[in-house]
């Protein structure tokens, strides 16, 4: 077997098996910070196993959409995750322009997630679906103003190349990259339905976005939804950790170490953010998202103008 193939298989295994672990890690850190013992780190795996052995129940009003949506969600998340580089390994899928496909594959998953929520025919899910559609719309520009602006400045259009084009040579570019990473962090919080946008832990329907959309699912369906939300969290973690790759520079093992350390640091910071902030009011969330977008735009403008003069 060629080494490229081994790398790809290794990446796939990491994505599939480390994703729930990462979610468990965040929860553990959060528990420690709030002074609890908390569930074991492996709790997400237990949850998935438990759900796998449960009966699947669909609402009486639901149709085939509810049945295929979890599958589509999971498949789309897995494909999206495989476009991101793990350490210094070449991404499983990598070609020119995959940044667009990445954004749109996530859109594909969202499309069916919203449909599946509306499929139940209950207002709770409808509310979540409407919010998801609205907030996702405002989240889209954040992605393009952060990762997209690096892409446009470097001329690379593949996520792997974009991350590996980052070079820490001059100070203004470094600042630019750091602020981009902050934008991506704010995006990750939104997309993965964490605090302060959404709360992953409660099921109080009126206040939630993601959790309420999967309220009427159970068994295998819920397992896939949970798993894909773990992978989604991991995707955004990988987007964030990617900013540290320039330190590794073609060294395999250093790349892996940075990947692991980056994930640890990120899970800690997510836990800290969740501990010290409370969830925003729904009507303030667009402001939060527009703020993140504005950071992206300003960052790009400042960088270009400082480099021009």
């Amino acid at each position: 077997m060629s080494s490229a193939l081994i790398e790809k298989i290794f990446s796939l295994i990491i994505i599939l098996f480390l994703a729930p672990f990462f979610a468990g890690l965040v929860n553990k850190f959060k528990a420690i910070l709030t002074g609890r013992v908390g569930a074991p780190i492996l709790q997400p795996y237990f949850e998935l196993m438990r759900l796998l052995k449960k009966e699947t129940i669909n609402a009486t009003t639901s149709s085939f959409i509810s049945r295929i949506s979890p599958l589509i969600n999971f498949a789309a998340m897995l494909i999206a995750a495989s476009m991101l580089p793990v350490g210094n390994f070449k991404s499983i899928i990598s070609f020119d322009g995959d940044i667009i496909l990445f954004a749109y594959i996530l859109g594909f998953a969202r499309f069916f997630q919203i449909l599946a929520a509306m499929d139940i025919g209950s207002s709770f899910e409808g509310m979540g679906a409407a919010r998801e559609a609205t907030f996702a719309l405002f989240a889209e520009p954040i992605f393009f103003f952060s990762i997209g602006s690096i892409s446009f400045l470097s001329g690379m259009t593949s996520l792997y190349d974009i991350y590996h084009s980052i070079q820490l040579t001059n100070i203004s570019y470094e600042v630019f990259i750091i602020i981009c990473s902050i934008s991506v962090f704010m995006l990750a919080v939104t997309e993965c339905s964490r605090m302060p946008v959404d709360d992953p832990n409660t099921h109080l329907e009126l206040t939630m976005i993601h959790e309420v959309m999967i309220l009427d699912n159970s068994g295998f369906d819920l397992m896939l939804y949970q798993y894909s939300s773990f992978i989604k969290l991991f995707i955004y973690a990988m987007l964030e950790v990617g900013f540290f790759y320039p330190f590794a520079l073609q060294n395999y093992w250093l790349g892996i170490i940075i990947f692991v350390v980056g994930l640890l640091a990120l899970s800690l910071s997510l836990a800290i953010v969740e501990t010290i902030t409370s969830r925003y009011k729904m009507k303030n969330i667009p402001q939060y998202l527009l703020f993140a977008t504005a950071i992206g735009i300003l960052n790009l403008l400042i960088y270009t103008f400082t480099n021009r003069i």
């Binding site: 796998l52 009966e55 699947t56 129940i57 669909n58 609402a59 009486t60 009003t61 639901s62 149709s63 085939f64 959409i65 049945r67 295929i68 979890p70 599958l71 999971f74 498949a75 494909i79 322009g97 667009i100 954004a103 749109y104 594959i105 859109g107 594909f108 499309f111 919203i114 449909l115 509306m118 499929d119 139940i120 025919g121 209950s122 207002s123 709770f124 409808g126 509310m127 679906a129 409407a130 559609a133 996702a136 719309l137 889209e140 992605f143 393009f144 103003f145 997209g148 446009f152 001329g155 329907e205 309220l215 009427d216 068994g219 295998f220 369906d221 896939l224 790009l300 403008l301 270009t304």
Partner: protein
């Protein structure tokens, strides 16, 4: 015969558009079988409609094949008039009279502009033949005027904002067969016109690219935003045509920028995206219109708030409609994504080739296009979920899908899937058209060098993955059980269909953002008494261009009419007097 032969010329662009027309026309005509049955049952004469429909298709094909300016205008008028006459199938309804009149007026306004444009071209070249119209931009002044007139004239037909006002008026009232053809094909005649004019005057200065880019981006964003606020399914789809014309316009604009800077790669990506999106839009828009027509036949309403739960009656229809919706939202793995991807690549390529301030500007447009995609997702999840999913808001007696419905719908759905999963051959055709017509020796392989094979591979692997998961799901469900139960109602166990989320509440948060532009307003009547009686809620959106520009202009002209009223007298002697005066003026003019 040689004389007639000169009127028609088949070059790459003509054949491509002819293909698009024919591809949409055949299944639409098949759908006629089931759609018109409805009218035959009502003892209504459909002979006129069928005759006009056929003449319209022929005229539309002749437009893209014609090589002679006068012939072009004649067939263009034939197309406009026959489609107007076919639109009058239900002429006793007042909304039909109003909407079709909008269409007629818009068609006539634009034909004036086209006259002036062709006269200018004739004056410049001394010929009426298209293949001798290649004037280039040597005479900047005339060429600019020709290009601007062409862009306005054909822009009215295509429905770029702010010339889109006739689209949402004419589409909903037309017979569905016709609105499918109008939206899928006839507005593309405008796109064909713009591309043809471009071929006359190319290479164009860059400023035209930017103007078109901004107009198209506005059309795309507000087209879909207006669509989000609609409750009438055909009106909603009409606004989506504005959006898609905007996306096609963006592609053309990138092509303009590429041609101005002599970058064949950008030119290929821009025009290639536009051409492929033209084909794609013809496919999925016809699919969606025919789907809405089938629903109209069965339910007798176009209001989506009155629908719901159709999926339990007609699963096949909802699958077809879903395919069309995914495709039109530009979401992979269907065809809409492919053409949008080419346009995105065009943005990236422009930024790469031109450096300087281009990356930032292009990034802004990329974000704009992504925003359009997000809005389209919101809009089509709304349409699908309100129309098809949940439980029936109004009881459906029976829902029937004819064979001809199935044939035409499945034909379009097949093409949506085919172009999405295997884009390479279709992109190859577009590439061929471009290399034949658009570039003079400047060939670029940018379009076919995109890794189309990777797309096929990824989309197939997603499908396989979904299939495998499905088998796993079946296996686990057999082992641990699967059943249906009431949805959780927060302890309340009498959920009914009126408690479902409605289309207006789904879209409310998004529609409230550009309130003034959408002319979006809500009427809420809540009972204030201790024992609640009936409450009421309504939300409406009116067209900004129609309400704030077109209508005031018409009213203004109406006010002016009394001042020239003295010319309209009942006595014939006045008219003879006017004629004598005019003849005298003309005779005197010859002396000057």
């Amino acid at each position: 015969m040689k004389f007639l032969y000169n009127f028609i010329k088949l070059d790459g662009l003509s054949i491509y558009f002819d293909f698009v027309i024919q591809l949409a026309a055949i299944p639409t005509a098949i759908y006629n079988f089931s759609y018109l049955n409805h009218y035959i049952d009502d003892k209504k004469s459909i002979k006129g409609f069928l005759a006009f429909f056929i003449i319209m298709i022929v005229a539309t094909r002749l437009i893209v094949l014609s090589n002679h300016a006068i012939f072009f205008i004649v067939v263009w008028e034939t197309m406009s008039l026959t489609s107007y006459l076919a639109m009058l199938l239900e002429k006793e309804k007042e909304e039909v009279q109003k909407g079709s009149f909008y269409y007629l007026i818009a068609s006539h306004a634009l034909i004036f502009i086209l006259y002036i444009m062709f006269f200018l071209l004739h004056q410049k070249t001394g010929s009426w033949y298209f293949d001798r119209f290649n004037i280039g931009f040597a005479d900047t002044y005339t060429a600019s005027i020709i290009l601007i007139l062409g862009m306005i004239g054909f822009g009215i037909k295509s429905g770029f904002i702010p010339f889109h006002f006739w689209l949402p008026q004419a589409h909903p009232i037309a017979p569905t067969v016709l609105s499918a053809f109008l939206s899928g094909v006839i507005i593309k005649a405008g796109i064909y016109g713009i591309l043809r004019i471009y071929l006359f005057v190319k290479p164009v200065p860059e400023i035209f690219g930017w103007i078109l880019l901004v107009i198209s981006m506005i059309s795309a964003i507000f087209g879909v935003w207006y669509a989000l606020a609609q409750h009438d399914i055909k009106r909603l789809l009409a606004y989506h045509s504005v959006e898609n014309i905007g996306i096609i316009g963006i592609g053309i604009a990138i092509g303009f920028i590429g041609s101005a800077n002599n970058l064949p790669a950008v030119e290929f990506l821009g025009f290639g995206g536009a051409l492929l999106h033209t084909l794609n839009h013809a496919i999925f828009k016809s699919l969606l219109f025919i789907g809405s027509g089938v629903i109209y036949q069965n339910l007798g309403t176009r209001n989506i708030e009155a629908m719901g739960g159709i999926v339990h009656r007609a699963k096949l229809l909802s699958i077809f409609f879903l395919i069309g919706s995914v495709a039109i939202s530009g979401v992979p793995p269907f065809n809409g994504f492919i053409s949008e991807f080419i346009i995105y690549s065009g943005f990236f390529r422009t930024a790469n080739e031109l450096k300087n301030f281009y990356p930032i500007l292009m990034l802004l447009f990329v974000v704009g296009l992504a925003f359009v995609g997000g809005l389209a997702v919101a809009c089509f999840t709304k349409v699908n979920s309100i129309m098809f999913l949940g439980s029936e808001r109004q009881p459906i007696k029976n829902f029937h899908l004819n064979l001809s419905d199935k044939i035409s719908l499945s034909f379009f759905a097949l093409f949506c899937i085919l172009i999405g999963f295997f884009p390479a051959p279709f992109v190859g055709v577009v590439n061929k058209v471009l290399s034949l017509n658009f570039t003079r020796g400047n060939y670029s392989s940018a379009l076919i060098n995109i890794n189309w094979f990777d797309f096929s591979l990824i989309f197939i692997s997603i499908s396989v993955l979904i299939l495998l998961l499905y088998f796993a799901k079946i296996k686990f469900e057999n082992k641990y059980g699967h059943r249906k139960a009431e949805a959780w109602g927060c302890g309340y166990n009498r959920l009914n269909s009126r408690m479902q989320y409605t289309a207006s509440s789904f879209a409310d948060e998004l529609n409230s953002i550009p309130k003034t532009i959408l002319v979006y307003h809500k009427e809420v009547e809540v009972s204030e008494t201790a024992y609640p009686v009936e409450s009421k809620f309504e939300s409406h959106s009116k067209d900004f261009a129609d309400n704030k520009i077109v209508q005031p202009a018409i009213n203004f002209i109406k006010k002016l009419i009394p001042y020239i009223d003295f010319t309209s007298q009942t006595d014939i002697r006045y008219y003879i007097g006017f004629i004598i005066i005019i003849i005298t003026i003309y005779s005197l003019l010859t002396f000057i």
